[in-house]
Every structure is written in C-alpha cells, then in structure tokens.
C-alpha cells in the first residue's frame, strides 16, 4: 500500500512517489494507492493546465491495474472537498476502515 500524503507542486517528490508505485507494479505486486491528508489535492483537476501537472501521472496508474485506488473521505471533508469533482475514479474509504485495511497489507510505503 502506497500512502500519498504530501501536497502537489513538489514536482520531484510527486514524481518519485509515482516511480515507486510503478516499480512495485512492474514487480507484479498488488498495489493499493491511498490519497490522504494534503495528498488528496493531487486528485483535483487543475483549473488551467500548469506547466507540469505531474499529479496527472497518478491517473496512468489506473491503466496499470492498481488493485485499489482509494481516497480517505475524512481528509476530503476536512478540506471542504466533495468527491464529485475528483479527476480519478477513486473509491472512498473512511479513516476507520483505512486503519483496518492497513493491517491486511504486506507492506506500507
């Protein structure tokens, strides 16, 4: 499970999180990606296409057969964001359910 909890605009860090997910997928791991905390902002489409929208790369993970693609609902609520505006097809998960899901993983990244 990869937990994305840092905000966008750290293009380098975003890129390196993505590479980690892609490397795990290439090694035929079952990968679950969770957006949590400030990381949920990756999932909003930018109002105008900025020079480099590295976060869009998380969308390509869908093509690579990510096992589960989750967003923590409480992080959205805390930021007054609704699920209807998100650009990726994400499954909502409560903070409570995430706590239990963490325990079923082989690895947390």
């Amino acid at each position: 499970m990869l937990m994305v909890d840092h905000p966008p605009r750290d293009a380098c860090r975003t890129r390196e999180q993505l590479d980690l997910a892609l490397a795990a997928l290439a090694l035929e791991q079952l990968v679950t990606v969770v957006f949590i905390g400030e990381g949920v902002y990756h999932c909003l489409p930018p109002d105008r296409r900025p020079d480099s929208d590295v976060s869009a790369g998380f969308g390509s993970l869908e093509l690579y057969d990510v096992d589960r693609f989750l967003i923590e609902e409480d992080s959205l609520l805390e930021r007054d964001l609704g699920r209807e505006k998100l650009r990726f097809d994400l499954e909502p998960i409560s903070r409570h359910a995430l706590r239990d899901l963490i325990r079923e993983q082989d690895l947390l990244l």
Binding site: E38, L44, P46, D47, E78, D80
Partner: protein, 99 residues
C-alpha cells in the same frame, strides 16, 4: 506597524497556528504555495475570521494549479496575480514567512 504574513504553512500545522497568533489589526495574510488551500477551507477561515480588520489574499496561480479557484469560501479573499502578489509583499515594511 502592520505586518505582511507570507503563509506557506497549511492549516492545522504549527506554522499556521503561529502565524495566526502573530496577526494583529491591519495586517495582511497572504496565502501561497501549499498554504493557498487555506482560503478554501472553512476551518482555516473560521480561525482567521476571529481576527479583526485584517486583509486576506491568495496567490491565484497556486490555487489554480490545485483546481481550487472556484472553491474560495469567503468573498472577502482577494485573488492576486503576479503584480498583486508583489503589491501585497511590499505593502508593509515588515514581513514574515511562515512555513
């Protein structure tokens, strides 16, 4: 003398709380970088709302790149372009960055 607070800290962080604790009448709160999202969050704006007579601005491109331009939760927030950014940055002699 009034102070311009350059706020890169996100809401609910120690830097954010320190910034608000340092604000006084007439100050400018300028939200930028990861801090820009504060103007879309009611928890953050409520904390700011308790302060009297302060100016709140946000650097537009930092909101736009996050898809948050239409989500500002208070009409009094000024959305600034590059020139507005400079005007706010230099409006007071005193400024402080909060990370």
């Amino acid at each position: 003398m009034s102070v311009t607070h350059l706020i890169f800290a996100t809401p609910r962080t120690p830097g954010f709380r320190q910034a608000l604790a340092a604000v006084s009448t007439g100050d400018r709160l300028l939200f930028m970088g990861h801090g820009a999202c504060a103007v879309t969050r009611t928890d953050a704006l409520t904390a700011i709302g308790d302060l009297e007579d302060i100016h709140v601005g946000v650097y537009g491109p930092d909101l736009e790149s996050r898809g948050l331009l239409g989500k500002i939760a208070d009409e009094a927030v000024m959305v600034l372009d590059e020139d507005g950014l400079l005007a706010w940055m230099t409006a007071n002699r005193l400024n402080r960055t909060w990370q």
